[in-house]
């Protein structure tokens, strides 16, 4: 019995310590997913949370300035001006009309300050073959837009 409890204590200490570290890491890096439309309805402390927002890059809106890149995200009929201040170069896939995910916090002037930008091409190579090709590009395309644009694609939020 004594041996068993030794193991018990050992296992408990390891799991508890790692659990504590996980909790610390969680607090440090948790990021809320929001849509552009939801951002307007947020109030108070939820505005200072780190968040991730998805949308489509408005054509012609990308401006490279010194130390930052400004662009506008569109989604669900709303727009959101974004300033990217991260040091990593923007991904090659970040171009007009690409689907982008930005991570950061809303700034005081209504601009979203992003530290991380991920982008995915608007998969035109999947959509191009027209109506009924491959894995039915049109629904795929639609769910991609909804999916990246806030991760609330019906199939996911429903279950």
């Amino acid at each position: 019995m004594k041996k068993q409890s030794k193991f018990g204590v050992g296992i408990f200490v390891i799991v508890a310590a790692l659990g504590f570290l996980a909790w610390l890491g969680y607090g440090e890096s948790k990021t809320y997913y929001h849509t552009i439309a939801e951002l307007e309805t947020l109030k108070g402390s939820s505005l200072s949370q780190r968040m991730r927002i998805g949308g489509t890059v408005a054509p012609g809106s990308i401006h490279h300035l010194s130390g930052r890149v400004d662009f506008v995200l569109e989604g669900e009929g709303k727009t959101l001006p974004v300033s990217y201040i991260g040091t990593d170069p923007l991904p090659d896939t970040f171009i007009d009309k690409s689907q982008a995910l930005v991570e950061g916090r809303p700034g005081p002037d209504g601009r979203f300050v992003a530290e991380v930008v991920q982008a995915k091409c608007a998969s035109k190579y999947e959509a191009a073959p027209g109506g009924k090709s491959g894995a039915a590009p049109s629904p795929t395309e639609r769910s991609q837009m909804q999916g990246v644009g806030g991760h609330r694609a019906p199939g996911i939020s429903g279950g």
Binding site: K3, G25, T31, L65, G147
Partner: protein, 685 residues
């Protein structure tokens, strides 16, 4: 050829259903002809899947742009090399590729054991056919790669069209690693089907003894080796192509590939407890089940895009199928376990906390904790939305905080575990086995401190790496010395002889050394530096011992893209060393960009130069230079891991006769120490 391919797929589906149904009937009736026909249906399934895969590849090579999948992933200018890779660059093709690789395994298993293990094989065949049926369902009815390009006309009739050229392959995938990374990773994912099928089959058949473990050891190691290679090649691809200076970002798909590796590694270790001591039977069976579940989950995460990721090239309704399949697997495993759990009774208890058993136990525990942490972190957005309604993700700090200590603990156990005795280890043997390695490790640590090493985790990692390497070195040295004393061969030749006599044990040590190298490389990340600068022609940028001089630019038109190159001269300690050519690529068909990072790699550090675009203020090209210490050790360590696994897969050389025999125990105390473990281990191979 497309008709041929889809017909082969349908036929494969029919055969798989027969192999499954006929197999069950064979188990019930025990009719030898039925058993044979089910097995042959399984073989036929595999051959038909091979045919279907080759015909899709043929469509790529014949530039058949009437097929939607070919149009989406290839074009006339695409080189041969990438036309092979185009097969798995999209959803439909990669699912077919999954079936293809699985078929290679199933085919080999069915042929290898066609006249052996008659009691067990029908069960194994049924499980394998079940997995094949699932993927063939997807291949045939959900995501067929053979769909012709067509659109419904005004009258509702489909108009088939052929295009003159395709859309080309995504530039991100046009990189040599992308041709070998997915096959490796998928070979890992699919390979774990075999131990799963044997474990489930043995449980269902109540197959006596640990034989299923001996039968699957090689298959598990092959799958594990491919998985390891796949993960490292993926990391290398991310490093060399994505241009952000790192190789691992805790991206959902990276995590997905890592999960089965963790549980698979746990399994490879804990089976030894079952083989030697008859313990952990329930645990082992569940580890295999979970590993297989993780493989399916990994495929699901990659293909469905449930969690957004840079890899999620495809988002589709295919997710529901995978969730269904995962549920079926869980139910079947749970049912089989509940029904036959008395068959898995443990024969022994843990004796002491300082024993081989307990080191395996803790190894398994922390591998599992790591797996749980990574899994929950990866799926956090999905779960948090279910529970709170908010979709919350966790990032790199979460994963790093948990996994760095886990990695270090594992590294520690890597050094300690193999030298602890089974059951109970005496203080005396602790001193003998660990005294020197510990001292050497600590000396290395003190030296590092004197050189101004101040990163705590990296420091611990360094000490442990030296410690583990010394324990392994000592093991080889001791064993080799014994052989040298007997045969008079050189120490190196004796070490080789030693390894060949017990490939499993010493191959395992080689794998451990490979992991030490990987850890050395990972520890280097704490010292990464980077600098970014707008560069006029002739400007210089200094980073570490290197000075980069921008000599000029050029434009290089290639078949498929146009490359803009920066010509960067590199001076090391002010001596001209080499030229680097970081590139931006513009792909004509897709109007997409690609980056080619220029890397000068030495064992000490990588100089990693990115052409980061044009500065908006000055209109000058921007160079982003990184100095990443020790990265090369990771890739090198990966090679060693693979070599070690290959050694462990070799059969033992039978020259053990020299060691055994009457005079053996008396000669040297070391011989006595070596001999029991040799005989203990060799019994099973």
């Amino acid at each position: 050829m497309d008709v041929f391919g889809s017909f082969a797929l349908v036929l494969a589906f029919v055969c798989a259903v027969y192999a499954f149904g006929g197999g069950i009937a064979a188990i019930v009736t025990r009719h030898p002809l039925l058993i044979k026909s089910a097995r042959q249906a399984g073989i036929a399934t595999c051959c038909l899947i091979f045919l279907a895969t080759f015909s899709l590849e043929y469509l790529f090579f014949s530039d058949n742009f009437s097929i939607a999948y070919v149009v989406s992933h290839s074009n006339r200018d695409l080189s041969t090399f990438y036309k092979i890779a185009a097969l798995w660059s999209g959803q439909e093709g990669s699912l077919l590729f999954w079936s293809f690789l699985l078929s290679i395994y199933v085919f080999s298993v069915l042929l290898t054991y066609r006249n052996k293990n008659g009691e067990l094989m029908p069960y194994v065949g049924v499980v394998m056919a079940g997995v094949q049926i699932f993927f063939l369902t997807l291949n045939n009815f959900v995501a067929s790669p053979f769909k012709a390009l067509a659109s419904p006309g005004a009258d509702g009739v489909m108009n088939y069209v052929a295009r003159t050229d395709g859309n080309g392959l995504t530039p991100l995938l046009q990189y040599p690693e992308m041709v070998i990374h997915p096959p490796n990773l998928y070979s890992g994912y699919t390979g774990f089907t075999i131990p799963f099928a044997f474990a489930l089959g043995a449980l269902l058949a109540r197959y006596p003894g640990e034989k299923w473990i001996h039968l699957t050891r090689k298959w598990t190691m092959i799958a594990w080796m491919f998985q390891s290679m796949g993960i490292l090649l993926g990391a290398h691809w991310a490093y060399a192509v994505l241009g952000w200076g790192g190789y691992w970002g805790w991206d959902p798909v990276e995590n997905a590939s890592f999960l089965p590796w963790l549980t698979g590694t746990a399994f490879l270790h804990s089976v030894m407890m079952q083989e030697k001591r008859g313990m952990m039977k329930v645990w082992n069976v569940w580890l295999v089940f979970i590993t297989f579940l993780m493989c399916i989950l990994g495929t699901f995460l990659t293909r469905s895009g449930v969690v957004s990721s840079v890899h999620a090239f495809a988002r589709s309704s295919i997710g529901a199928w995978f969730v269904g399949f995962l549920s079926v697997i869980i139910l079947v495993c749970l049912g089989a376990y509940l029904k036959n759990r008395d068959y898995l009774k443990s024969e022994n208890q843990l004796d002491s906390i300082v024993s081989r058993e307990s080191s395996f136990l803790f190894n398994n525990l922390i591998l599992l904790v790591s797996c749980v942490a990574i899994l929950s972190g990866t799926l956090f957005p999905v779960f948090s939305e279910w529970i709170t309604g908010d979709r919350i993700s966790v990032g790199a700090p979460f994963f790093n905080k948990v996994n760095i200590p886990i990695g270090l603990l594992l590294l520690f156990l890597t050094g300690v575990g193999p030298l602890l005795a089974w059951r109970k280890t005496s203080t005396d043997s602790l001193k003998r086995n660990f005294g020197w390695p510990l001292a050497i490790g600590l000396v290395a640590g003190v030296i590092a401190l004197l050189f101004g090493f101040r990163q705590i985790y990296s420091w611990i990692c360094l000490v442990l790496c030296v410690f583990v390497a010394s324990t392994v070195g000592m093991e080889f040295y001791r064993g080799a010395k014994v052989i040298r004393a007997r045969t008079g061969a050189s120490l190196v030749a004796s070490a080789v002889e030693l390894t060949m006599r017990n490939t499993r044990r010493y191959g395992g040590y080689v794998v451990h050394v490979g992991m030490v190298f990987v850890f050395i490389g990972l520890a280097g990340a704490a010292f990464n530096r980077d600098l970014q600068k707008d560069m006029r022609q002739g400007d210089t940028l200094k980073i570490g011992p290197y000075t980069l001089v921008l000599q000029g630019f050029d434009t290089k038109p290639e078949k498929n893209y146009t490359a803009q190159r920066l010509l960067v001269e590199v001076l090391e300690d002010n001596k001209p060393t080499m030229m680097l050519y970081p590139e931006k690529r513009r792909f004509s068909t897709t109007e997409e960009n690609g980056t080619m990072v220029a890397i000068h790699s030495t064992l000490q550090e990588d100089l990693y130069v990115v052409y980061a675009g044009t500065s908006p203020d000055t209109q000058l090209p921007v160079i982003h230079a990184y100095l990443n210490p020790l990265v090369k050790w990771i890739w090198f360590g990966g090679v060693v891991v693979v070599l070690g696994t290959l050694v462990a897969l070799l059969p033992n050389r039978r020259a053990v006769l020299v060691l055994s025999g009457a005079q053996q125990p008396a000669a040297q105390p070391l011989a006595r120490e070596l001999a029991p473990s040799v005989s203990l281990r060799e019994r099973h191979d």
